[in-house]
């Protein structure tokens, strides 16, 4: 197997990472100007089902209070790289189902 990635100059790597970070920031800025149609079409229940079961079983919404779910979903926003919109929809669904 080729190991070209192991031989990259560190400065090139820094440049690549900075460029990637800049591109991601620009995309995120542009994306934030409009609501994603895909997420807008999905319900909180659907997003909950799609994102959570990728890694673990989904517990009953009744195990936490509304306030606790806000904390859990913020924690999972960080862990699963959820967008704010996804997090809000999932939280609202869990509160409704609670």
């Amino acid at each position: 197997m080729g190991t070209w990635f192991l031989k990259l100059n560190i400065m090139k790597i820094i440049k690549i990472i900075i460029t990637l970070a800049f591109i991601i920031y620009v995309i995120s800025f542009v994306s934030s100007c409009r609501t994603s149609q895909v997420i807008a079409m999905k319900s909180g229940a659907q997003l909950w089902g799609e994102n959570c079961v990728r890694c673990h079983n989904v517990p009953s919404p009744s195990i936490y209070s509304d306030k606790q779910w806000e904390l859990v979903t913020s924690h999972m926003r960080l862990r699963a790289n959820l967008t704010k919109e996804e997090t809000i929809k999932i939280t609202e669904f869990l509160k409704t189902a609670n």
């Binding site: 913020s74 862990r79 699963a80 959820l82």
Partner: protein, 426 residues
């Protein structure tokens, strides 16, 4: 007629006077009632405000597990090998800030290839054996996060290393489908578990697909040059959080979820550290590069009446070659005073699981069949050289959504072991 009208007028006037008096009395009484209610309302509000939670919120959650293992080749080697308790605290002082910590409190009766399921103790461990029979406490992570915008979060502190997916997502024992971690992963394993630094991460919706990213700068690993532990000479120590030079490690992970329902994820990750040796030492310019690829796919099948999960991860770790001092006993035996080796380690695993979650029978619905093949190899010629390939077959029974009993048999090149574990998320 005139008299009648006069009498009527007189009666009307008298009635008005009387009514006015009565109304005045009623008005006074009503005002008193209103004042009384206002006072009562004030008192009630005081009571409510005393017990009303503030905007700052706190949650204690986490997981725990107890494991038993039976060496299939040595019947004397059977014991309750590991008990662990990992509380996670989440504190959100405001909408944009989040503080999270995870603590590992573990009592280890024996370490056999990462016998924990919470990522503690993979093969190639620099210190796994030293924990045997003792209680081990470790801060898994502790970081503060700031939600910068809808798609970007900054975290600072000790955070889980986003290399591959096992470390960040599957290390809790109630999430890991098997009682043991893949070779090389977990605390005490060769691969990193946490970094001390700053990280930017988030997710972006791009059409029907989604991109997930994490970029970080951290202290990075420290090279064990043999002065501290000659048996580990050449290994990068990720659990050492004191930076031994001015150079920082750069790393991150980028993944793509091409399908609209996010069931498929393909990721690439890496970490680069230019200098990991002690500053001013002969090893100052030794660097390390870590690269990983990962894939996960979830199939929700009606025809198979259940869910199939496929997970894979490949990790390669390269440390620049260097000369290390031989032991005095080796030199006495005629070996060269210095030795070197190709400092490359490789780890990979593939996992497939099936849970018949749509079966009509509850018992069947709660079972899960898991198979994982994992391989690990540390540098050939090093004093920490090791190679193993394992096939692990597991049968899980889910008592609740976050409580599982796992039975697994692992057949490896080095040992054959049966594991039993009860894991509980709370």
């Amino acid at each position: 007629m005139k008299l009648k009208l006069t009498i009527l007028f007189a009666v009307f006037v008298v009635t008005c006077f009387i009514s006015k008096d009565v109304l005045s009395q009623d008005q006074s009484s009503t005002n008193e009632e209103i004042e009384k209610l206002k006072e009562e309302n004030k008192e009630q509000n005081k009571k409510i405000n005393t017990n009303k939670p503030g905007k700052s919120t706190f949650l204690l959650t986490g997981f725990t597990n107890l494991s038993y293992h039976q060496n299939l080749e040595n019947t004397d080697d059977s014991k309750f090998g590991h008990a662990g308790f990992s509380p996670i605290t989440i504190w959100q002082p405001s909408e944009r800030f989040l503080f999270e910590t995870e603590l590992h409190i573990e009592m280890e009766g024996g370490v056999h290839g990462g016998e924990t399921g919470d990522g503690h103790g993979g093969h190639g461990s620099e210190d796994a054996e030293s924990h045997e029979g003792s209680t081990f406490i470790d801060l898994g992570y502790a970081n503060i996060a700031y939600f910068l915008n809808d798609y970007m979060t900054i975290t600072a502190g000790k955070f889980l290393t986003p290399i591959g997916t096992f470390n960040e997502r599957f290390h809790p024992s109630w999430i890991n489908p098997l009682p043991i971690s893949p070779l090389g992963s977990g605390h005490g394993g060769v691969l990193p578990t946490a970094e001390l630094g700053i990280q930017v991460r988030g997710g972006l919706q791009t059409g029907i697909s989604k991109i997930s990213y994490a970029l970080y700068v951290s202290n990075g690993p420290v090279l064990e040059d043999g002065n501290g532990d000659p048996e580990r000479a050449g290994s990068p120590v990720y659990s050492n959080f004191s930076d031994n030079n001015r150079n920082k490690a750069l790393g991150g992970r980028l993944s793509w979820l091409p399908i609209q329902n996010s069931t498929l994820e393909v990721g690439i990750s890496g970490q680069w550290a230019k200098n990991i040796g002690d500053q001013g030492s002969n090893y100052e310019n030794v660097g390390s590069q870590l690269i990983a690829g990962d894939i996960s796919y979830l199939i929700n099948s009606t025809s198979l009446k259940g869910v199939i999960r496929i997970i894979g991860q490949y990790t390669k770790l390269k440390v620049d070659d260097a000369l290390y001092e031989s032991d005095s006993s080796d030199i006495a035996n005629g070996d060269s005073p210095f030795y070197t080796f190709d400092n490359t380690s490789t780890f990979y695993y593939g996992l497939i699981s099936y849970r018949p979650s749509k079966s009509g029978k509850k018992f069947i619905r709660n079972t899960e069949l898991v198979y994982r093949y994992d391989f690990g190899q540390t540098p050939i010629g090093s004093k920490w050289e090791f190679e193993d390939a394992r096939s692990t077959l597991g049968l899980n029974y889910w008592i609740q959504a976050r409580s599982v009993i796992k039975l697994a048999v692992s057949i490896g090149e080095l040992s054959n072991i049966m594991y039993l574990q009860w894991a509980l998320g709370f």
